[in-house]
């Protein structure tokens, strides 16, 4: 299989429109159900982001925190999530989202090699700024997994350029000054941030944090190469009475977002 960065590059280059990147918390509400949720999203997803639950998720708001904690309370372990990624192989490229201590505890090399064997294309580590990433970037490179960096509205121009030089696959642009689960405003400030990122970074730019509706996704699609939706999808799962309802609800929402981003509507 080509390495993760190449698969992500191909996804961005081949779409001809902004990518839809939905997020699933691995193991929430339980491992089988999270796999079923990911499968409900997959037909409309260009890349899938799969979260590894962590005890102290500093970049996450209450929705993702609670989902992760519920998975941990059920005994879900990082290897279980990598297994879910393996079961999704053959669909859209999977990017794992994990806090750095999970990688350190497993040993970055062992963790990334396991992920690569499961077909994982990339990894996003929200508490690993570019200056701390050296060893993990090397291990990711050797394993053939893209280390996807993050930038924020507060990231200075010189730093944007440094992140851009180190980027693999794409750059994750944090849309809000804050944690996940808020609500984005697609305004002059966000446009200016994306403008700065574009001027300093050659890699594709995906925008996430606080994106809740197909309308917001469409507006972000005007200025970015991809849109990540996370907390809103967890809310849909929480609101559903059973797994079948959750799957239908996710599938319908994902179809709406994909169309909003310019995908051809799929027959129901």
């Amino acid at each position: 299989m080509p390495d993760g960065a190449a698969r992500l590059d191909a996804a961005f280059a081949g779409a001809g429109r902004p990518l839809f990147i939905p997020y699933v918390m691995g193991g929430f509400p339980n491992p089988d159900a999270s796999l079923a949720c990911a499968r409900a999203l997959a037909p409309h997803a260009d890349v899938l982001e799969l979260g590894i639950p962590f005890s102290d998720p500093l970049a996450d708001g209450p929705t993702i925190q609670a989902a992760g904690q519920e998975a941990l309370d059920r005994g879900v372990r990082p290897d279980d999530v990598i297994e879910i990624a393996g079961a999704l192989d053959g669909g859209p490229p999977v990017v794992l989202m994990s806090y750095v201590n999970v990688l350190l505890a497993a040993g970055p090399r062992a963790f990334l090699e396991r992920a690569a064997r499961a077909g994982v294309a990339g990894v996003v580590v929200p508490d690993l700024p570019v200056d701390e990433a050296g060893d993990i970037r090397d291990a990711a490179g050797r394993a053939g997994v893209a280390l996807v960096p993050l930038v924020a509205p507060t990231t200075a121009a010189a730093r944007l350029a440094a992140v851009g030089r180190a980027a693999q696959g794409f750059v994750y642009c944090v849309a809000v000054t804050g944690v996940t689960g808020g609500e984005v405003a697609v305004d002059a400030e966000l446009r200016a941030f994306l403008g700065r990122a574009r001027a300093n970074i050659d890699a594709p730019l995906a925008v996430g944090f606080g994106v809740r509706t197909p309308g917001q996704a469409a507006a972000i699609g005007e200025i970015a190469d991809g849109v990540v939706i996370a907390s809103q999808l967890i809310r849909l799962v929480e609101q559903a009475q059973d797994l079948a309802t959750a799957q239908r609800s996710l599938e319908g929402f994902a179809a709406d977002v994909a169309v909003a981003l310019g995908a051809a509507p799929t027959p129901a």
Binding site: P78, N101, A105, E132, V151, A152, T154, T155
Partner: protein, 394 residues
Amino acid sequence: MSELRERFGEYGGRFVPETVIGALDELSEAYRGLADDPAFRAEFEGLLSRYVGRPTPLYRARGLERSSGAPCIYLKREDLCHTGAHKINNALGQVLLASRMGKRRIIAETGAGQHGVATATAAALAGLECCVYMGREDMRRQRLNVVRMRMLGAEVRPVDTGTGTLKHATSEAIRDWVTNVGATHYVIGSAVGPAPYPEIVADLQSVIGDEAREQVLAEDGRLPAAVIACVGGGSNAIGTFRAFLGDDEVALVGVEAAGEGVDTGRHGASLGHGRPGVLHGSYSYLLQDDDGQVVEAHSVSAGLDYPGVGPEHSALRDAGRVRYVSATDEEALRAFTWCARAEGIIPALESAHALAFVAREGAELGARGALLVCLSGRGDKDVDAAAAALGIDA
């Protein structure tokens, strides 16, 4: 001032969301600029002397000597600082700094409430808005300090996640900072967190050891045989130890919380029984499971009920320069009563851990010379919890 240390051996660093990296750079820059600014130093030192009450006394504890068999015990009386603990040294420095940086809002986390009270106090003095995150369980066991913070005009935000203790309060404070980073300064209460915080906090707290070293020399004409301090995040300990790091003949002992016993899994001894990892922005010893999930700490003392520790302590542990030991809840409560009865000083439960070590090994260690104990805070905040644990009726 030269560059602030970001690494202590392999420990430390800045493992935080990208959003706050710029603010950490700005903080480093501001601290380096102001540390050498004569007007700022004059304001800060003036307040340390006339507002905080520094230098704090070095007190010869003859009552403890009689019952421990150690011939000479000095207590560095940080409990006599304004607000009741060493925490004010750091909070005041950081709030003045934030004020000079043009920040309008101060946030903090607190466990025992001493850092929260100190920060609320400094914010009131500086005329800044203040919000303190505190775990629900800690609000229950440190009720007095919750009331004090509110009296001082601070908002106390309860944190309900997990066990409602310091780890969770710190995570919520960091999330607030990530969200409001422009106008807000986060006053971290211990020598933990992303660089440059561990260095700034240690620098602001090093006044403890600088004074104590001079006071012991004036009193005794020689250095103490051992310096002893409790370690949660480790700010009073690093502030005391730094002055003695170059004195090879002085033994340095950090006392962590053994809680219900280090074999029960219910303790806060990250240096003694943890492994290195990342929590709250720095790489340091940490209580965690095989998957890297941070496990809950436990201690009767809210200030030591924390699964992490400052990165400089991790480096000192590996280098063997500081010996890290632990004391159980039961030993700490015994030492709490011991100090109250033998000296007429009710210590904070945190500081009682350092005294518990003196009760255990003081005679042996004291045979070589004086023991210097950092009495980091007073125990007024602990009277409810201690009375319940000790079965004392009102």
